[in-house]
Amino acid sequence: MAIQTFKIPDSLISGMKYSFCPGCDHGVALRLVAEVLDELGLKEKAITAGSVGCSVTIYNFVDVDTIEAPHGRALAVATGVKRAKPDKFVFTYQGDGDFASIGLSESLHSALRGENLSTICINNTTFGMTGGQLGPTTLLGQVTTTSTKGRNIETYGYPIKIAEHVALCDGTAYSARVSLDTVANIKKAKLAIKKAFEAQLNGLGFGFVEILATCPTNWKMTPRQAHDRIKNEMFEVFKPGVYKDITV
């Protein structure tokens, strides 16, 4: 008898085709988000505050009510949605630039207020949509279109360790950093997303998952090289792990 081992999640728009670059981890990340929405029965209760970057395309793929937020403001917009409609499931899906550069204040203050919101932050160490400029998590020495000789401290300062900062906020219920570079890590990432979503459902506060992800196009690497970079370079600075968990 045939056993179904995989199906496209209901929370993904049927018939949709991803527009992401080959080797981009957005495809996997959004599938995990959609699977967790399905498993927790949230599709009809969910409202997402969209962000700006390659993540803006979420509403082309994920089949939930969406309000598009200005760049960086997703968590302020999400706060407004959740305060107006506390019984809905409200989440954001943002890049590292949206969450931790232009939006850092709105992001951390939502965590500090302990808003019952869930956030996925895709950290690919670059401003991807605009062609690969230096961003808040670009590594020291990393070459980008605005750091052509590599990120140095004098001109550009240091990258931010996002999950750690979020964990320091007393209103945070769950803060973890995961990656999608191996099957094992993908499975861990899905569990983390589930925890972050459950934190909201249990009214425990802000649930956050930082996902280390590839940007092969702007890193000028093959998909395989890009996934290796996550392990070989990014893990050193952005260590995977659970930085706060009050859900246990």
Binding site: K43, E44, K45, A46, I47, A49, G50, V56, Y59, D63, V64, D65, T66, I67, E68, A69, P70, R73, A76, V77, A78, T79, G80, V81, K82, R83, A84, K85, K88, F89, S105, E106, H109, R113
Partner: protein, 357 residues
């Protein structure tokens, strides 16, 4: 908040009047940040909204506050923030988004001196900020300008109604003078019907297909069509919602025009000049958008001159000139900031204008 109650009227400070009116209008959410001369609005809301179990957040900035309002409005809720001048400047990006998204944001703008940090005393120099706007693209907000604390109440009610009726951001353009002064007001009840928003509000896609509220439109034809649609809406607003106050215009050789708190001294000066036999009239736009363009056009056929009085370097005078379209001269009298020109100075200016004619 109140000092005495006389019949149904309550002696109320402007800022508190606006806040209570918002509550009476059914404001579900208030998100705000303090700035003089309107901090009392946020203080009042922080107490009352929580008492009523409605949403209140002390936002970390005005930027955050207006975005919270955007989010709340996207669910169909009535949401509002209040601020002043240099902090309203922070909100311009989101006000542009909200216009394109067609969201019923209510924004209370209590003008202070500028540009920049300026100072906390009253001014009218944010007419341009409200009417032309600092956000990108072609869009308009409905702008209502009270001149008394009673009008602060009445126009706050109207702001909530018009914003929902037209799915459009609506600004109550007050100033520090109105915000801080106390006058007797009758609150009454919110006089407008509720508008059904169940066909667009985000409530979770149950028993319907999901909705996306956004301003990103990738196809240039589609974006153009959307902007044209917005301007068709603005035309409807212009045809149906114009409001102004008019005095002694039938035989006026000079018609004075002003908005907001400045109008109080202007009206007194006009009454004085009328008693001296000067044929002076008055028109006060209450809706700044939609501007009473048609009425100015009509009046320019019977009068010989307009005199616009404002506490700025000449902002509403531009819209008067556009409406009059060169038919008769349009003069300007004002001061850059602070309390409006006093009655004597205004009356002197009117007499001067008559001498010049």
């Amino acid at each position: 908040m109140t000092k005495c109650v006389l019949n149904k009227k309550v002696l109320t400070k402007g800022n508190y009047a606006i806040a209570q009116a918002a509550i009476n209008a059914g404001c579900d959410c208030y998100f705000g940040y303090p700035i003089t001369p309107q901090s009392e609005i946020g203080e009042y809301m922080s107490v009352k909204m929580q008492e009523l179990d409605r949403a209140y957040v002390s936002a970390e900035s005005e930027l955050a506050a207006i975005n919270m309002v955007l989010g709340a409005c996207s669910t169909g809720a009535k949401a509002m923030t209040s601020s002043s001048s240099c902090a309203i400047a922070l909100m311009q990006e989101t006000l542009s988004y909200a216009a394109s998204d067609e969201l019923p944001i209510v924004l209370i703008s209590v003008m202070r001196g500028g540009p920049g940090l300026g100072y906390i005393y009253s001014a009218q120099a944010d007419y341009n900020q409200a009417l032309i706007g600092g956000g990108n693209g072609d869009y308009k907000h409905i702008v209502l300008a009270p001149s008394t604390v009673q009008e602060c109440v009445d126009l706050t009610y109207k702001a909530f109604y018009l914003s929902q009726k037209y799915r459009n951001p609506t600004i109550l353009l007050a100033d520090g003078l109105l915000g801080q002064m106390m006058e007797p007001v009758e609150f009454g009840e919110y006089p407008y019907s509720e508008i059904d928003n169940s066909d667009w509000a985000l409530t979770g896609a149950k028993n319907r297909s999901r909705r996306v509220i956004r301003s990103l439109i990738v196809d240039p034809e589609e974006l153009s069509a959307h902007v044209v649609h917005l301007f068709e809406k603005y035309k409807l607003i212009e045809e149906n919602e114009v409001e102004y106050e008019e005095l002694y215009t039938e035989d006026a050789d000079i018609i004075v025009s002003s908005f907001g708190s400045t109008s109080r001294n202007v009206k007194s000066a006009i009454k004085q000049c009328r008693e001296e036999g000067l044929k002076v009239g008055f028109i006060r736009p209450v809706t700044l958008f939609p501007f009473p363009t048609k009425r100015f056009e009509e009046l320019s056929k019977t009068t010989k001159k307009f005199l616009v009085v404002e506490v700025n370097m000449g902002q509403m005078v531009r819209d008067v000139k556009l409406a009059v379209n060169g038919k008769v001269p349009v003069e300007f009298f004002g001061k850059p900031a602070g309390t409006p020109p006093n009655v004597d100075d205004t009356a002197d200016e009117i007499r001067k204008q008559f001498k010049r004619s």
